[in-house]
């Protein structure tokens, strides 16, 4: 148990989300075990006693995330509700506590998987593993970040300005720069890969590179390679930086169901391969791509509020389409919208969700495309708010 607690404490640090030695991670079996001593553990043990959980994390994230969380705390009454896919599917809402007390926090965690404690950080829980708490922690940061920048642009677009957010913005962008790696480019192996071992090794390297480039969080994202009539794909709920033993080979003829644990996007990946010459697909959740996908200023649109499933407008960032689609294979699933959108292109952005990119031989191209699309979206966002700010100032 202690090994697991230390693993996820370190992972929060390795992912750049927390400073070293700050995450407090608790594991519960018949007693509570902590990764380190901390004065908060007494109150957290009261919280644990009031819940049926087996793991808990308390940590204050680094900047810019800490300031963004505090901003949301100041500007909501009891909870805030981002509209990205991770929130819609998984978190539903992010409750806010004003004090780190069991009395205030237990009722919040009875309903949700995690909460923000104003000025203190995030408390996240799991019922089977600290990994769950890590995923919740990471998702809250992602969703809060996306919400901040999306909301800011929409307020500007109305001609008003959120003064508090505007004052925060330069520091947030500067510290976000520090969060990102200095050099996001990596030397991935050149293809084409033919043996299963070569394929798996290439996928492990590309997955890790995507995490290191901070283009995906926790266990979201997926990756695949097509060879010998098999789609080699990361398993559902696998972390892209831990893909060893987490890749399923799924035969195109469906002669075996071993890949039942494969990513929920197997069908989308498979249909992309069947429709073109691609060999590699990479899917991440780079933040500004998600933010830009959620910014649409179409007036009086009848699909407003249902953009993620109903948007019919042809939207692009440069040559990259923004498409609707829910996770998976449902009637509004991205398994239906993504394959046609990707054909003949570098990739596509799924509304509120993330980016899928392709490579014709190996992961170099897919990774480069992912990085370039995110950079393009970030520049587009900065230009957008500059334009909106100018318009707002003129108005």
């Amino acid at each position: 148990m202690l090994k697991l607690l230390n693993k996820y404490a370190q992972k929060l640090v390795n992912h750049g989300l927390c400073l070293p030695d700050t995450p407090l991670v608790g594991g519960v079996n018949d007693c509570v075990l902590w990764n380190r001593q901390d004065p908060h553990s007494t109150e957290l043990e009261k919280i644990v006693a009031g819940l049926n959980i087996n793991s808990i994390i308390l940590a204050r994230p680094v900047e810019p995330f800490a300031s963004i969380l505090d901003y949301h705390c100041r500007n909501c009454t009891a909870e805030f509700v981002p509209e990205d896919t991770e929130t819609r599917t998984f978190l539903h809402a992010i409750p806010v506590a004003r004090s780190l007390t069991a009395a205030e926090i237990i009722p919040l965690l009875q309903k949700r998987k995690g909460c923000v404690v104003e000025g203190q950080g995030i408390i996240a829980t799991g019922t089977v593993s600290p990994e769950q708490a890590f995923v919740v922690f990471s998702s809250i940061i992602f969703s809060a970040f996306v919400k901040f920048f999306v909301d800011y642009a929409y307020v500007l677009q109305t001609g008003a300005a959120d003064e508090e957010a505007r004052e925060m913005l330069p520091a947030l962008l500067a510290t976000y720069d520090q969060f990102l790696p200095n050099d996001p480019t990596v030397e991935l192996e050149a293809g084409t890969f033919s043996t299963p071992d070569e394929i798996v090794q290439a996928m492990i390297a590309a997955g890790r590179a995507t995490v290191d480039a901070r283009m995906v969080d926790s266990f979201f994202g997926n990756i695949s390679y097509f060879a010998h009539d098999n789609v080699y794909i990361s398993q559902t709920g696998s972390s892209l930086d831990e893909l060893a033993s987490c890749i399923d080979a799924c035969p195109l003829d469906n002669s075996a169901c071993t890949g039942i644990t494969a990513s929920s996007e197997l069908v989308a990946h498979r249909d992309i391969y069947l429709g073109g010459e691609q060999r590699a697909i990479l899917h991440g959740h780079p933040k500004f791509s998600v933010i830009m996908s959620m910014l649409c200023f179409e007036e009086q649109c009848q699909n407003r509020g249902k953009c993620h499933i109903r948007c019919k407008k042809e939207r692009f960032i440069g040559d990259i389409p923004i498409i609707p689609g829910e996770v998976g294979t449902g009637p509004r699933g991205l398994s239906r919208t993504l394959p046609p959108a990707v054909q003949g292109r570098r990739g596509a952005i799924v509304y509120g969700h993330g980016v899928f990119t392709v490579g014709h031989k190996d992961f170099r191209e897919a990774f480069t495309n992912l990085s370039a699309i995110e950079d393009q979206c970030r520049q587009a966002y900065l230009q957008l708010i500059a334009d909106l700010s100018a318009g707002s100032a003129q108005g």
Partner: protein, 586 residues
């Protein structure tokens, strides 16, 4: 009331009278429905023997039945098991849960014994009894056809018992709508003891919903998660391949029970997977009322395709390489109305004791003998434990609390060892189902070759599944959704203001009550165990997967931790302190 009708049908089969039981709304809220409410109603009767006429057989729906809440059309059947003597409840699909609500009832409590074989007909306009002697000896499909032919009952729901129950088979099932089984533990034999051959239900009443818009929103959340689940709706998931989709996974993980759990890999299994059935039988989907996953499969010529457990036990466990023999074995069990898991394991113990491989003809012949109560089948129909005890070889009975294990070898998913041991109904995978995280990676993956820290996970999962069975939802949905989404649905239907964690607390009380019921009948730590074989013999390892024996000391340590977490004493018995905390009689 919203969600519940507030009325439970009480049937006395001895004098064929009925009345309505109306419970305090607080009892509904504390027990939810299904398994919870059935346990509440059985509690005071549970020291009666399974063949005591006054022991109730309870059928209970939940508040979400007959609403648009996803996969919530199931119901619970509960009584005391003739196979184990322990608590025995089954979550069953089909449409009876929905139609019982439409007839105006939350459930029914059956007690007494009819003088002759009878049937019970329930509708919104009344309840009646009929003579059912003419149905005796018929196979399930024939009984179902006749019941559907009754005036106005072609769209009705029908629960029935088959020849196995009539012959005293201790793992006889109750079969719903011809295809859905309250399969485990011999509930069919309890129904047979009451001389009740069938229950037929029709109705058209609606269930009051507190907030339809909110329920719609909860439904969308759940559907979204289902669509995102590769296990449920993925290309290789159970919607396309049935539960048999798990077969390849068990093979590849080297945890497929083989040769009565002496091995964990069956070399012929690659050719007997779900894809093979799909190709051979050109399968189509069908399933429970109100479900869009449709996990059941039927062949082009009407062949019922076996579920995962049946596929596995009638192939690897008994050493059968003939796919068609698996389908036929399944058909025999279905038509007789008996549990395929217990039947498969009992045949495997027979094969081990008699030191013979079961050729398909022998396997099918023995199954027919069990169903007919003739020859060697008479002893086999008493289940593995009694059969092996009779043969002087109880150590080869692969059971816990006398119930045979399903198709997950605990050496390949060690949490399963603790889950089998602590299950209140015995060798059952469905109480905690650690396969979800140890193999299927939901909600996240855990180390399948370690028991460390699993005690609390097992306890939480038992509580969660107690809630699921009380709601009465489908456990498969919880590969995708969680109690967080279902709490929203429950609140929307009933007007309650509960949460996921509060529901877990309710589940804890429901499960602890079952521990009390078992303790009152003499169950203790010696029953919370699994056979010695798993601690002394390795599974079938490969170059990359080592399937070692379980560590007995680690198992006992984790079981002791489970007792502390559950609030039981060192002997696995309820404590006065915990009973008081849960407001349960000790």
């Amino acid at each position: 009331m919203h969600g519940w009708s507030g009325k439970i049908l009480r049937v006395n089969l001895s004098d064929q009278t009925t009345d309505d039981l109306r419970l305090n709304p607080d009892i509904y809220a504390r027990n939810i429905g299904g398994k919870g409410l059935a346990g509440e109603l059985l509690f005071d009767h549970f020291q009666r023997g399974w063949d005591d006429p006054q022991l109730p057989l309870v059928f209970m729906t939940g508040p979400l039945n007959n609403t648009v809440s996803p996969t919530s059309g199931r119901m619970t059947v509960m009584s005391r098991s003739p196979l184990t003597g322990a608590v025995c409840d089954a979550s069953v699909g089909g449409k009876m849960g929905t139609l019982l609500k439409r007839a105006g009832y939350d459930g029914m409590i059956l007690s007494g014994t009819s003088r002759n074989w009878c049937g019970l007909n329930i509708s919104e306009s009344g309840v009646s009894f009929c003579d059912a002697t003419s149905l005796c000896g018929l196979e399930i499909s024939a009984i179902h056809t006749r019941l559907q032919a009754a005036p106005g009952m072609d769209q009705g729901a029908h629960a029935m018992i088959g020849p196995a129950a009539e012959q005293g088979v201790r793992f006889a099932a109750i079969v719903f709508d011809g295809h859905y089984f309250a399969g485990r533990g011999g509930l069919g034999l309890v129904m047979a003891e009451k001389h009740l051959k069938h229950i037929s239900v029709s109705g058209g009443l609606k269930t009051a919903v507190f907030d339809r818009a909110e329920l719609q929103a909860a439904q969308e959340e759940i559907y979204r998660l289902v669509s995102a689940s590769p296990i449920l709706t993925g290309d290789l998931g159970i919607s396309n391949y049935g539960t048999g989709a798990l077969y390849d996974l068990m093979r590849s993980r080297r945890m497929m029970p083989t040769a009565n759990f002496r091995q964990t890999y069956f070399e012929h299994s690659a050719a007997m997977n779900a894809a093979a059935y799909k190709n051979r039988y050109r399968t189509k989907k069908f399933g429970c009322a109100g479900c869009h996953i449709l996990c059941k499969k039927i062949g082009a010529k009407g062949e019922i395709i076996p579920e995962f457990e049946t596929m596995s036990h009638f192939s690897s466990l008994v050493g059968n390489r003939d796919l068609e023999a698996v389908v036929e074995a399944n058909r025999i069990c279905n038509e007789a109305g008996m549990d395929t898991i217990s039947a498969g394991v009992t045949l495997a113990t027979y094969a081990e004791i008699s030191e013979q491989e079961l050729a398909p003809e022998k396997m099918l012949g023995l199954l027919a003998d069990i169903a007919a109560g003739r020859g060697e089948g008479t002893a086999l129909g008493q289940g593995s434990l009694r059969f092996t005890q009779e043969a002087g070889r109880p150590e080869v009975a692969m059971v816990s609390k006398g119930m045979e294990f399903p198709a997950y070898d605990p050496r390949g998913a060690q949490g399963m060892a603790l889950a089998y041991a602590t299950s209140t109904r015995g060798g059952c995978h469905l109480r905690a189902y650690p396969i979800s995280h140890e193999i299927l990676r939901k909600p996240v993956s855990t180390d399948r070759f370690s028991l460390s820290g699993k005690a609390r996970i097992i306890k939480i999962s038992e509580d969660m599944n107690a809630v699921v069975d009380s709601l009465t939802a489908c456990k498969f949905l919880f590969f995708a959704a969680s109690l967080e989404e279902y709490a929203r649905a429950l609140n929307a239907v009933t007007g309650m203001q509960t949460s996921a964690q509060q529901l877990l607390a309710t589940g804890e009380r429901i499960y602890y009550r079952e521990r009390i019921m078992n303790a009152r009948n003499g169950f203790d730590a010696s029953d919370d165990d699994i056979p010695a074989r798993f601690f002394t013999e390795s599974g079938s390892s490969s170059a990359t997967i080592q399937v070692a024996p379980l560590d007995r000391q680690e198992f006992l340590q984790e079981r002791a931790a489970y007792y502390r977490i559950r609030g039981l004493d060192e002997n696995g018995l309820p404590t006065a302190e915990k009973c008081a905390a849960l407001e349960l009689p000790c």
